[in-house]
């Protein structure tokens, strides 16, 4: 596994820094819009999380525990009922579903999101080339999104989140549909980014390789609990207690 020890060292050095993203006391309850239809669900009951520069954090939890809700709140796609969030730097969001425009090509998708991120056309082209090369989807740049396989669509979904080279990456089940080579390429990219100081939070309901993470937070009963079992290879010095 490349760069793991370097990355852990970087993370340790930066642990004293302020968090790039911090959320405190996040509460969220979904209420049925109509009486007698559906039911109210309390998802988050005071979740706290702080993410520090250069660390890779796993967020785990059972199905329906509120992981995606938490991520949407962290990224600003959903308002919490209460609690506060502070972000210091740019955020990239890779949602669980590929929220893209089906009839646009991959290249057009980058052009549109480049506008959203405020990037110049040159920078969009450059970043698109880098990401397409890294995640191996160059030959699909002129394909429509709805003509891509699930795995390639997920690559584009991830690449859109990375387009503006964000300070914090929030990834919701990012490797769903990846083949083994792409999965490894994803981790290589994630570790390189973390080594450069990018903070990465990855949601997964199943984390099989704990050593890839600096910390693992479990969402349980609406709150985040740091798992005490230490990662094998990445001895992060980040304080837990989230």
């Amino acid at each position: 596994m490349p760069n793991i020890s370097n990355q852990a060292a970087t993370a340790s050095q930066e642990s004293a820094e302020k968090p790039v993203l911090a959320a405190n006391g996040i509460e969220k309850r979904y209420e049925s819009a109509l009486p007698f239809v559906g039911q109210d669900v309390t998802v988050l009951t005071g979740a706290d999380v702080s993410l520090y520069p250069g660390e890779i954090v796993g967020i785990v939890g059972e199905n329906g525990s509120g992981k995606s809700t938490l991520m949407k709140i962290l990224v600003g796609a959903l308002r919490p009922d209460s609690g506060s969030i502070s972000r210091h730097g740019t955020v990239g969001w890779c949602p669980q579903e590929t929220l893209l425009y089906d009839r646009l090509t991959v290249a057009e998708t980058f052009e549109l999101f480049g506008e959203a991120y405020g990037l110049s056309a040159d920078r969009v082209r450059r970043r698109r080339g880098e990401l397409a090369d890294r995640l191996d989807f160059e030959r699909f740049l002129e394909y429509r999104i709805d003509h891509l396989s699930g795995g390639n669509r997920q690559k584009v979904n991830l690449a859109v989140a990375l387009l503006h080279d964000p300070d914090v990456l929030l990834l919701d089940e990012p490797y769903t549909g990846f083949d083994w080579e792409t999965y490894l390429a994803f981790w290589e990219l994630a570790e390189d980014l973390a080594a450069d100081g990018t903070t990465i939070a990855i949601i997964s309901h199943l984390i099989s390789e704990r050593e890839r993470f600096d910390r693992i937070l479990e969402l349980r009963d609406g709150r985040l609990h740091e798992q005490t079992e230490p990662p094998q290879a990445r001895s992060s010095a980040h304080p837990g207690g989230e």
Partner: protein, 257 residues
């Protein structure tokens, strides 16, 4: 501004990649106009119609076709891209520019619908003032395009939104057609009592259109109400769309933890 241009171009590209939609846009207006005209041929000449029944039918068909198609485009512009818009907004694309790009795309399609409807009508009916008649069709399309955006924002599901729009357009078309002479009045704030028919969104465009086609005159008294409709609907569309793209998943897609 650059964002609006890029987004509008890409919205139109998306639309152009739906050949069925484009086909229907070209094929439906002639069918509707002819169906309305043919079905009203057997009607007696009513004093409230102001024209030969077949001609009145074709005028009604042209107006309905252009308005309803614009409404549908507005509706699906909002609904089909809802999730993508949510992500684009989170990525930093301003809501106002996003809506503007939707409206630009809707206007282009509405213009296309107006051209097809006007062409079909001109083939069958002698139009006294083509420019005014075409402008009236475009105004009707603008009103219904905005109504489509509003319905799509408030009822963000394809089936339910379409049903609402169908009933709205159908009711509006009948109410404003002059087929029924409704004398009842309703109070309208800042305006006073107006006849029920005059509250229909298509009423004023229809009067403008009819005068242009039959007499070649500009029924100027209807311009202000049309402008009021467009500005009012635009304000509602901006407010509704702005609200819907700020956390739409929470309200619309249900619970996805």
């Amino acid at each position: 501004m650059g964002g609006v241009v890029t987004a509008s171009r890409l919205r139109l590209t998306e639309l152009a990649r739906q050949p069925l939609t484009l086909g229907l846009l070209v094929a439906l207006p002639p069918v509707v106009i002819e169906l309305y005209g043919t079905s009203m041929e057997s009607f007696p000449r009513l004093p409230t119609l102001g024209a030969d029944p077949a001609v009145a039918g074709r005028l009604t068909g042209a107006l309905f076709a252009v308005a309803f198609l614009a409404g549908l485009v507005g509706l699906f512009q909002v609904i089909s891209a809802r999730e993508g818009d949510e992500r684009l907004a989170v990525a930093g694309f301003p809501h106002g520019r996003m809506l503007a790009s939707r409206l630009v795309a809707m206007c282009v399609v509405a213009l296309l619908g107006a051209v097809v409807s006007f062409g079909t009508l001109s083939y069958r009916v002698e139009v006294a003032s083509p420019v005014l008649a075409f402008a009236a069709l475009v105004l009707a399309a603008a009103i219904y395009g905005l109504l489509g955006v509003i319905v799509g924002t408030l009822v963000p599901r394809e089936l339910e939104g379409s049903i609402v729009l169908v009933f709205l357009a159908d009711f509006d078309n009948v109410l404003s057609s002059g087929l029924f002479s409704l004398t009842a009045t309703v109070p309208v704030p800042f305006v006073g009592d107006v006849r029920v028919a005059e509250t229909a969104p298509l009423y004023h465009p229809r009067e403008l259109f009819t005068a242009a086609v039959l007499d070649g005159t500009l029924a100027g008294e209807h311009l202000a109400p049309i402008a009021l409709w467009i500005v009012g609907l635009l304000v509602v569309a901006v407010l509704a769309y702005g609200r819907s793209t700020q956390g739409p998943t929470e309200r619309l897609a249900g619970w996805s933890a």
